[in-house]
């Protein structure tokens, strides 16, 4: 059975983590709503590079629009940035690691780990989604649903599977890793 050491400052640290996580998620959402494609290069650039490496078709930056694959005529625009996935992953990771926030340092670590892992997961999962979308566009299947619906269905499945895999991975690592002392 797992034991959890509770210190006197734990409720305060956990309250701070919950409040900070909420603020970070809302700030990310606000930034995403207001941003143009050029403001999202911090997530579009690594995603485009990874998707380009996966598909073998390089993406080039189109100022104001996003990243374009001229070869496949596929544009990674603002709506493909994966920021919503990043927010979901960040919130989920904070929830999964919440019990580790017992001191100011461990609370900061929970937020930092969740933010970095959420960002990395968003880049990888989004690149996989884009690579699959490009493959599906190149190999159309004769279905009774539209290509837009196939694209939406693929997005839902890839994002949800990505969240599931990330949650399983963090649960396993959390069980193995020692508690952060924060001293």
């Amino acid at each position: 059975m797992r034991t959890r050491i509770v210190t006197a400052g734990a409720p305060k640290a956990q309250l701070a983590v919950a409040a900070a996580a909420m603020l970070i998620a809302l700030a990310l959402k606000q930034h995403y709503s207001d941003a143009r494609a050029d403001d999202l290069l911090w997530v579009l650039t690594p995603t485009a590079q990874l998707a380009g490496a996966m598909t073998g078709s390089p993406f080039t930056l189109q100022p104001g629009e996003g990243y374009l694959s001229r070869e496949r005529l596929f544009l990674i625009e603002k709506s493909c940035a994966g920021v919503n996935f990043m927010i979901a992953a960040f919130g989920m990771l904070v929830f999964a690691l919440f019990h580790r926030a017992r001191t100011a340092v461990s609370a900061g670590s929970v937020l930092a780990v969740s933010l970095i892992a959420g960002y990395m997961a968003a880049v990888v999962v989004n690149a996989v989604r884009i690579a699959m979308a490009m493959w599906l566009a190149a190999h159309p299947v004769a279905l009774s649903i539209s290509s837009a619906a196939v694209h939406r269905l693929e997005g839902i499945l890839v994002y949800f599977c990505g969240l599931m895999l990330l949650y399983e991975a963090v649960q396993r690592l959390d069980r193995r890793a020692p508690h952060w002392s924060g001293r």
């Binding site: 939406r152 269905l153 839902i156 499945l157 990330l166 949650y167």
Partner: protein, 84 residues
């Protein structure tokens, strides 16, 4: 409760946190921002987002249970065939 139903319930329980995070971002946040006024377009999106992930879990669990049942049937039939 046993068999495929137990697998499905366990998988849904395991997926509760990722599912909640996904629904929060794809449904709760847009609804809070007034997406409900977008009408049929948002309704279609919401329906797909609500139905597809649990349906995928049920489908995967069903395939897993079916695969296991086939494997069990094959392994129990093999010694019987060897005895004949």
């Amino acid at each position: 409760m046993s068999g495929p139903r137990a697998h499905i319930v366990a998988a849904l329980r395991r997926a509760a946190v990722p599912l909640a995070a996904y629904y929060a971002v794809t449904l709760a946040l847009p609804l809070a921002n007034g997406a409900a006024f977008a009408g049929a377009r948002f309704a279609v999106h919401a329906m797909m987002v609500l139905v597809v992930p649990p349906a995928a879990i049920v489908l995967v669990c069903g395939c897993y249970a079916l695969g296991r049942a086939c494997l069990r049937a094959a392994t129990s039939a093999a010694p019987a065939a060897r005895h004949q």
